[in-house]
């Protein structure tokens, strides 16, 4: 490993190493307190003085044609976390425990490695459920989790963690048509969670290509233990159906006092033969 430069400012950072080797090689994830690193020549567009994001790229390992190139950027958590990040804001709350229970039931049931999270209509909590499920899975020791944002209609993962992706995932997927394949992924500091996010200001009209999406997911599957895919609402587009064909299971999210049975039934019917794992009910009063 290259020597680490002297730090300029105290900050929290996460050191990541990516090993292009197969999964059985161990990947290390350590948390350093008050470690110092030299500022990268092209830092990300964060202007905060208190925390700085250091992008550190280890030397690229030798690659083959079938090995995707994954570049990671480390993002730090903001001081004021989004309220939807339940497991980070209140790890001991009932909601966090429920998400952990969801993780446990999934792993006990069929241990799907590629999980799609969707809902019948927008605003029912699929992103919340996806990110919290991913965080819950990431709490497992020696587990690499990727949150793949496949919602081109209303991308919110970057906004959720308050960061700007270095490169929009949609562009990355479009570039996969060529010979060069590479993924730019953000790693969340303090967790084992990585995020492949769309740009928040994604232009409307962007479509997901089912074949490319399948190739991307299958390639990323080799890099991560679990991939949680945040998709578009089922009843608003066919993207959820495209994603459902590439995953091991689909979780349908419903929000209490909001989701209608008729619409949820219709969404289930539209998913058809997709492997539906079950329904996750958010904001349940009776469970409170």
């Amino acid at each position: 490993m290259p020597p680490r430069p002297e730090p300029l400012l105290p900050y929290r950072m996460v050191e990541l190493t990516t090993n292009p080797a197969p999964r059985n090689h161990r990947k290390t994830l350590r948390l350093f307190e008050e470690a110092t690193y030299e500022r990268a020549p092209d830092p990300p567009r964060r202007e905060k003085q208190e925390t700085e994001v250091i992008v550190w790229q280890p030397p690229a390992p030798p690659r083959t044609e079938s090995t995707p190139r994954v570049s990671m950027e480390c993002i730090a958590l903001a001081d004021k976390l989004d309220p939807r990040l339940t497991l980070l804001r209140a790890p001991d709350s009932a909601q966090s425990k429920a998400f952990r229970l969801l993780r446990h039931r999934l792993l006990r049931q069929s241990d799907p490695r590629l999980i799609a999270v969707t809902s019948a209509e927008r605003g029912e909590g699929k992103t919340t459920c996806a990110v919290n499920l991913a965080l819950a899975i990431a709490e497992e020791t020696l587990t690499r989790v990727l949150l793949f944002e496949a919602n081109v209609r209303q991308p919110s993962a970057a906004r959720l963690f308050d960061f700007e992706p270095r490169e929009c995932l949609s562009r990355q997927l479009s570039r996969l048509q060529g010979s060069m394949r590479g993924y730019s992924i953000a790693a969340v500091a303090g967790t084992r969670l990585c995020i492949a996010a769309m740009s928040p200001d994604l232009a409307p009209g962007v479509r997901l290509d089912r074949f490319i999406l399948g190739v991307a997911l299958s390639e990323l599957r080799s890099e991560f233990d679990y991939i949680v895919v945040d998709t578009s609402p089922v009843l608003e587009s066919a993207d959820a159906n495209a994603v459902a064909e590439c995953v091991d299971g689909v979780i349908l999210v419903a929000r209490a006092d909001r989701s209608r049975q008729k619409r949820v039934k219709h969404a289930v019917k539209q998913l058809g033969s997709a492997p539906l794992l079950g329904i996750t009910l958010l904001d349940s009063r009776e469970a409170a």
Binding site: T86, I279, A287
Partner: protein
């Protein structure tokens, strides 16, 4: 506590059912906003109802109906109170009467202006009540928008009813009187004609006019009446008194007349008395024969006739005893014609079962004459009876149409119309409470209906109907508020 995947769609024990019920109530309470909305709607409806309905005042008057003046004829049946009440109700609610009241007090001006007076009358009828609980009393009630006006209208309705009833009664009496006056003249003419015909017949056949007795006016011409009149005043009297004629058989009359009274000097009066006695005897026998032809011997008239014959015989016997003059051969010979006449009368009085060709010609003429005489006398009797009947009816109608009859009221006011002090219940508070209760009930029903129609997912039990529920994430109000504030 059951995990979501342990729940079955049809799992419903008692506690679950109770839990469902409470859950339903909780869901209903989430729609609490319907209650104030319903109350607001109810308040608006109540205000509109009160504004449209307005205040209503009620006034009532009680009337008494009494029978009209009787004129002595007790043959008329008493009027059925129900018919009277129905007639008065029709009089009260007649369109002409109500139009007068509407015009006088300017009732329902909007309706009159928009739809005409006919519609106003129909509206007026809805607020007028006529009640006849029974007996001779009935009440008139009216509901109006102003107390004073209500009282005046009620009083006016009673006055109109009384006036109309009196007018109709007077009009009916006048019409009846006029009709009876015409009938009276006609019957008088008929009576005169009948009497004239009878007089002409008597003039042609004076033999039928031997005795003229006076009868009571209107009394039928019968043998008993004649004998009774003869017992009072056998002499004829003039004037317009009814006259009755006794019939003496011509044979007997000839027999009586053929038996000339022998004028014995000194015994002329006795002979005259004897002749009259003999004539009376003949008449009595004739009457007896007639009665025996009609009735049996047990009939009272037959017995009276027999008594009259006996009395006449006794009379004659007494006169004969007083006058020792032997009976003249004429007198003795007169007894034979009397016997013959008696037999002739009996034969004639028998029903006509004898062969007409066997009867002598003079007998046929006699029968015809007697028939004509009976017909004429019967005509006079019937004409007199009709005249008397019409005369009595005319008298009653004259009394009813007279001033004294008109001034005798049939309807009188027992309890005049009172001034209402407060509106007809229910008042605004009661109406408001009723509307509030209805609005509340409507609100609760709407909440229940909205909850039933609400197909949103509230718990795992709702979602389990669709697919397996992995987990229920409890609600975090703080997080929701924070998220709402952040977005």
């Amino acid at each position: 506590m059951k995990l979501p995947d342990d729940l079955e769609p049809d799992d419903a024990d008692a506690r679950e059912q109770l839990s469902r019920a409470f859950g339903f109530v909780r869901r209903m309470l989430r729609k609490w906003w319907i209650i104030p909305l319903a109350l607001l709607f109810g308040a608006a409806a109540c205000a509109a109802f009160l504004w449209i309905k307005g205040r209503t005042y009620h006034s009532e008057t009680v009337l008494l109906y009494s029978e009209p003046i009787r004129t002595g004829n007790n043959n008329e049946a008493p009027t059925d109170p129900r018919n009277t009440a129905m007639r008065f109700e029709e009089l009260l609610l007649s369109r002409s009467q109500l139009e007068r009241v509407i015009g006088q007090y300017d009732l329902y001006p909007d309706r009159v202006h928009d739809y005409g007076v006919v519609d106003a009358v129909a509206e007026f009828r809805k607020h007028v009540q006529f009640k006849a609980p029974g007996g001779d009393t009935f009440s008139i009630a009216f509901e109006g928008t102003a107390p004073e006006q209500t009282q005046r209208v009620t009083a006016r309705l009673a006055e109109l009813l009384i006036e109309e009833d009196a007018r109709l009664k007077s009009q009916q009496a006048k019409v009846t009187r006029d009709f009876l006056a015409v009938e009276r003249k006609r019957t008088e003419k008929e009576l005169r004609d009948a009497e004239q015909n009878l007089a002409e017949f008597m003039a042609k056949h004076p033999k039928f006019a031997l005795d003229v007795v006076m009868l009571q006016p209107g009394a039928p011409v019968t043998g008993a009446a004649i004998r009774a009149s003869m017992a009072h005043d056998p002499r004829p009297s003039g004037g317009g008194a009814a006259r009755a004629y006794t019939y003496t058989r011509p044979s007997e009359a000839r027999g009586a007349a053929s038996s000339p009274s022998v004028a014995v000097p000194g015994d002329q009066q006795a002979k005259a008395d004897r002749a009259r006695a003999e004539a009376a005897l003949v008449a009595a026998r004739s009457d007896l024969a007639t009665k025996q032809a009609q009735f049996t011997d047990a009939h009272p008239d037959v017995r009276e006739a027999q008594a009259a014959v006996a009395a006449a015989q006794a009379r004659l016997a007494s006169l004969s005893t007083a006058d020792p003059t032997p009976a003249t051969p004429v007198a003795e010979a007169a007894s034979q014609p009397r016997e013959e006449s008696r037999r002739a009368v009996r034969e004639e009085a028998r029903p006509r079962s004898v062969e007409p060709r066997s009867a002598p010609k003079n007998e046929g003429e006699l029968v015809a004459l007697e028939t004509d005489w009976a017909r004429l006398t019967r005509g006079v009797t019937e004409a007199r009876q009709r005249h008397d009947h019409i005369d009595a009816a005319f008298f009653k109608a004259d009394v009813a149409s007279s001033e004294s009859g008109r001034e005798a009221p049939r309807i009188s006011i027992v309890d005049p119309a009172f001034l209402p002090q407060r509106p007809v219940p229910p008042g605004p508070l009661t109406i408001g409470a009723i509307f509030a209760a209805l609005a509340l009930a409507l609100g609760v029903a709407s909440m229940a209906l909205a909850t039933l129609l609400d197909d949103r997912i509230y718990s795992a039990r709702d979602a389990i109907q669709i697919a397996k529920v992995l987990v229920e994430i409890p609600r975090n109000d703080k997080r929701r508020r924070a998220y709402a504030a952040a977005t």
